[in-house]
Amino acid sequence: MSLYEQLGGDAAVNAAVDIFYRKVLKDARISRFFQGVDMERQAAKQKAFLTMAFGGPNNYSGLDMRRGHAHLVAQGLDDSHFDAVVEHLGATLKELNVPDALIVQVAAIAETTRNDVLGK
């Protein structure tokens, strides 16, 4: 069974998205990067991100990641902010009682996007 299936697929993403994004918005270290963004579009983006991190279907390329975050890198997005997001991702899954072994795998997938997101 794939990681995505073990986590519970689309239903797991739906359960996680509100919890995860609330943590992100409440975090003063990173909330400014999300200000002024339309919430409905943002909801879809967060779902897309979580689906990818959960090992689900996606066709994001490194180039998409670079393009999508370039304006944030220009505003100072760096490793500390990336770490904060990964931290919230882990905490969200813990809250949903996902086993640690799976959380490690999700974090590892998220980690693969670091250089593209940060434009390195």
Binding site: N14, D18, L25, K26, A43, A44, T51, N58, Y60, D64
Partner: protein, 321 residues
């Protein structure tokens, strides 16, 4: 083989091909990103034809009922006529049958379209002035309750359309409108759910429609409507809304004034602050926000952080001009 019709042209779709792949193959530009039915960038709308269920997974119920779908996950079995989601609706004529001053700077305009228009309370239509100038206005009317379309138009200083509406436009006049759109309306999928509606100024219009629509469709969960304005002269339909409170025990109407001492039954403060004071947690609620763009933007974040799910926040920012 299904034929896809878009903007008057036909595109044959191969066996097992998605709408997105088919259009792209024919050189039609369609915005897309994840191509996996998640990011919703490639959302389109069907005007005719059967949409496979898989193409509507994850869309809000208000989108599903209007035939929206994701082009990247849509493998059509039958012919489809589709359009881009923000394509303008059909234009039609309408007659002005009423005009009523609601507050010092807002009038209600009642229109009867030349042919029956399918719409839902809370959606908006485009109103044209001669010469192609037009603005969007939300519908305060409810199809089953009102024989006309009702718009609430605020007089914007120097506004070319609102100035004309407040000035020259009179009952008996013929005008042009374009078909309804927007996804801010009531869907009776969970009638015990708590609903919160927050509006400022003429942003009350869609909420006035949605509230009456929901209550008359038998919604029995609590329904809270907050209407904010600088002063009491900006509040309107106050008597009607209090009357609705008497009629429906689950309906609560809270008029708020931010820059004036409140009188009879009003509350003082910015409308979002009053909401925050009344409801500590909004977990499981559905929320509608309409009015000043700053209030709508702030409100979305505030309500989300108070527990409203991202997928349960509906807003159509009121077009100010």
């Amino acid at each position: 083989m299904a034929i896809i019709e878009l903007e008057g042209k036909s595109y044959p779709c191969e066996e097992n091909e998605t709408v997105l792949d088919c259009l792209t193959r024919h050189g039609v530009q369609v915005p897309s990103s994840c191509r996996a039915g998640v990011c919703q960038s490639c959302m389109m709308r069907a005007e005719q034809g059967e949409i496979p269920k898989a193409a509507q997974v994850g869309l809000k119920p208000t989108r599903v009922t209007q035939g929206y779908f994701l082009a990247c996950s849509c493998k059509p079995q039958d012919d489809l006529r589709i359009r881009f989601p923000d394509a303008e609706g059909l234009r039609m004529g309408a007659r002005v049958v009423g005009k009523e001053l609601l507050s010092h700077d807002i009038v209600a305009v009642r229109l009867v379209p030349d042919k029956p228009m399918d719409y839902r309370a809370g959606q908006f239509i485009r109103l044209f002035r001669d010469g192609g100038l037009s603005r969007c206005y939300s519908l305060a009317s409810v199809p089953v309750l009102d024989e006309w379309l009702e718009l609430h138009v605020r007089h914007v200083p120097g506004g070319q359309v609102s100035g004309w509406v407040h000035g020259d436009l009179s009952p008996g006049d013929s005008v042009q409108i374009a078909d309804s759109s927007g996804h801010c309306f009531y869907v009776p999928d969970q009638q015990d759910r708590a609903m919160l509606l927050v509006g400022t100024g003429s942003g009350l219009a869609p909420l006035y429609g949605i509230v009456r629509d929901a209550l008359h469709q038998g919604h029995w969960g609590p329904v809270w409507l907050y209407h904010g304005s600088h002063g009491s002269k900006g509040l309107y339909r106050v008597d009607e809304l209090h009357e609705l409170e008497r009629q429906f025990a689950n309906f609560h109407y809270v008029p708020c004034v931010s820059h004036e001492k409140p009188s009879n039954g009003m509350r003082q403060g910015m409308v979002l602050d009053v909401v925050a004071g009344d409801h500590e947690s909004l977990d499981g609620w559905q929320a509608f926000l309409c009015g000043h763009p700053d209030m709508v933007t702030l409100g979305k974040t505030q309500l989300f952080l108070s527990g409203v799910s991202l997928s349960e926040i509906y807003a159509d920012p009121f077009v100010a001009s």
